[in-house]
């Protein structure tokens, strides 16, 4: 059997022009599919940046919240009620909102301000400079060193700015798992200071972050929160909700889906057509093999191997090319959101398998129909 596969391999790769055309077609298709879906994955990941970075098990919010950035304030009793619920180990408030800061050079810059619970500092970022306890100092803020950091004028510890006529001072520089979607720097401070510096409506708690006692408690917590008229979601559920919003209510998902489908069609057309031509040009040879004594299943095996080999080689090249392009793009454009995930790779793999299957099907049909007698007739 290995001999037959070796024969199929030689017939394929020795036809350098066709093999190259096949590879280019599939590589290009995979590149486009992975590029599109990875961009989407990157956008969704950034849209959920606050959820990822704060890392709470359970989030309590107003049911009308659609993304983590569009907060709807909740009254304090929600926090009190959450703290007394069965299955809750502890619950803390968090503030998340936008603001405008005036930098030392007089320019203004939009920022996201995250106010952490004063007592526990639950959800605090990992500091790379400074000490976390300095956040309790006068006018203290911690700035996140992400792709937006330079927009704050590359601040250092001690750098001052103004926020709604209040003095602010950088006391720490932190790193987080994910940068935000909206291209603005992130400042961390205490919950009370955030409320003090930023004008707010009557209800001020953006989210209540809950640490549940055990995974089994989640259902119970959800039921109790629902009884209050609010919504409790696990971290993953909240990220799914945010993804669903961007996918189905902004047009972003549909546009990227269309691009992905187009990439698939382009790949299928190029590789299907080229593979069909390859089989067509070798049809007489397949007929000769049949006449010599090759069985139909052996010819099918040869074609399946050729299609699969091309597809998977093209897949590897396409993924590699996409990773390279994303890496190069991020060198020049730090805000570039693309992110290759297992989901992207899986989707592209499924599509490549479909391309290989369709190409093989077309080739196999043709080869099974060729009559060795036609080879004799010339």
């Amino acid at each position: 059997m290995r001999g037959i596969l070796s024969l199929a391999y030689k017939l394929l790769v020795n036809d350098k022009a066709k093999f190259t055309a096949l590879l280019v077609g599939i590589t290009f298709a995979v590149f486009l599919m992975v590029a599109m879906t990875s961009l989407f994955a990157g956008v969704l990941n950034r849209a959920s940046a606050t959820v990822i970075n704060l890392g709470a098990n359970v989030w309590i919010m107003d049911p009308a919240v659609q993304t983590v950035a569009n907060t709807i304030g909740m009254p304090d009793y929600v926090l009190d009620a959450a703290r007394s619920m069965d299955g809750v180990e502890y619950a803390v408030p968090v503030y998340s909102g936008g603001a405008l800061v005036k930098l030392a050079d007089g320019t203004y810059q939009s920022v996201t301000v995250v106010g952490l619970d004063d007592t526990s500092l639950f959800g605090r970022p990992q500091l790379i400079q400074g000490k976390i306890e300095d956040i309790y100092g006068e006018n203290a803020f911690i700035v996140v060193k992400d792709t937006e950091f330079r927009k704050m004028g590359n601040p250092r510890i001690g750098t001052e700015f103004e926020l709604n006529d209040h003095r602010g001072v950088i006391v720490g520089i932190a790193t987080v798992a994910s940068s935000g979607l909206f291209g603005v720097p992130t400042l961390y401070t205490t919950y009370e200071r955030a409320l003090q510096y930023i004008p707010n409506p009557r209800f001020t708690i953006s989210y209540v972050l809950v640490k549940r006692r055990s995974p089994a408690d989640i259902t119970r917590i959800k039921r109790q929160v629902q009884a209050l008229g609010y919504l409790a979601l696990t971290k993953d559920e909240f990220m799914d909700k945010i993804s669903a919003f961007y996918m189905f209510q902004t047009g972003l998902g549909m546009n990227l889906l269309i691009m992905t489908v187009m990439s698939f069609i382009v790949g299928l057309s190029i590789s299907g057509q080229t593979f069909y031509t390859f089989v067509l040009e070798n049809l007489e040879k397949f007929g000769a093999l049949k006449a010599i004594g090759a069985k139909s299943r052996e010819l099918i095996l040869m074609i399946l191997f050729q299609a699969s080999f091309t597809a998977f080689t093209g897949y590897g090249l396409g993924v590699g090319l996409c990773a390279l392009v994303i890496w190069l793009a991020k060198l020049r454009l730090p805000d570039y959101a693309a992110m290759i995930t297992w989901w992207n790779l899986g989707l592209a793999l499924v599509m490549v398998i479909i391309i290989a299957a369709v190409s093989s099907y077309v080739g196999v049909r043709k080869v099974l129909r060729v009559e060795p007698f036609d080879i004799f007739r010339g």
Binding site: S6, L11, N14, K285, I292, G293, A294, P372, F373, I375
Partner: protein
């Protein structure tokens, strides 16, 4: 010399007791098309060949030579009649068994050679061996032995397109004899060659490939090589109409 079809059929079926029958075709018929377009390509042909023979089937284009060759080599199913090869009724075999029969018993040399241009000469010759489940490596080693037989050992690593027409024909012969088939079928082996080369090729086949345990059938209308045949059967309008040589055999 002219004889009736019945005479030649009767004559060819009666084998001398000392010879072993290689192929026996009885009442073989093959039609193409249907209705008014129906054409009888092979019409009630009876034929027997023996090991040690090099039989030519000659006749004008469209006389049914190639169709008959295809029927007796297990490639084209007849509409009537039987074909037995070494005592096996080949058209009663399943598709897989028939493929195995072709692989193990028959060696083909096609008119246009049908060599794979992207493979080397040795790899082309190795194909029947690979189909017989030999490893790639072993098949290549064995293929080189067959190339040696046809005098092309030094060309083993070249692609067929780098060879002359005569050399390509010899590669096709090497591929056909790879695995030692009992029956060798050559379809118009001299059609693409000049007279001298064609004669040299068929002479070579007769001298080096034909033996007591092998039967060679050649379809040709090249009169320049007729002297090399042990028997020549004439075909016209789908029927064997006589012989030009070897009637006494």
């Amino acid at each position: 010399m002219t004889v009736t079809a019945e005479a030649i059929n009767a004559s060819s079926i009666e084998a001398p007791a000392t010879r072993t029958t290689a192929i026996k075709a009885t009442g073989v018929m093959k039609w193409f098309g249907a209705g008014e377009a129906k054409t009888t390509a092979v019409n009630n042909v009876n034929l027997e060949t023996w090991f040690g023979e090099m039989v030519y089937i000659v006749g004008p284009s469209g006389s049914g030579k190639t169709t008959l060759l295809s029927v007796i080599s297990g490639i084209l199913k007849p509409d009537a009649g039987t074909v037995t090869v070494e005592g096996t009724d080949i058209w009663n075999l399943s598709n897989d068994k028939l493929a195995d029969f072709r692989l193990n018993k028959i060696g083909f040399v096609f008119q246009d050679y049908h060599l794979f241009p992207r493979l080397t000469t040795a790899e082309n010759v190795a194909i029947p061996l690979i189909l017989r489940r030999k490893s790639w490596h072993d098949a290549l080693i064995e293929a080189k032995k067959y190339l040696e037989i046809v005098g092309l050992a030094s060309r083993a690593d070249l692609p067929p397109v780098k060879l002359s027409g005569g050399e390509q024909q010899r590669v096709a012969i090497a591929r056909a004899i790879a695995g030692q088939p009992d029956i060798l079928i050559l379809d118009e082996p001299t059609a693409s060659l000049d007279g001298d080369t064609g004669h040299a090729i068929v002479s070579f086949v007769k001298k080096n490939i034909l033996n007591d345990k092998r039967c060679i059938l050649i379809v040709t209308h090249d009169s320049r090589i007729e002297e090399l045949a042990t028997r020549i059967l004439k075909m016209e309008d789908g029927r064997l109409t006589g012989w030009e040589k070897g009637a006494d055999q």
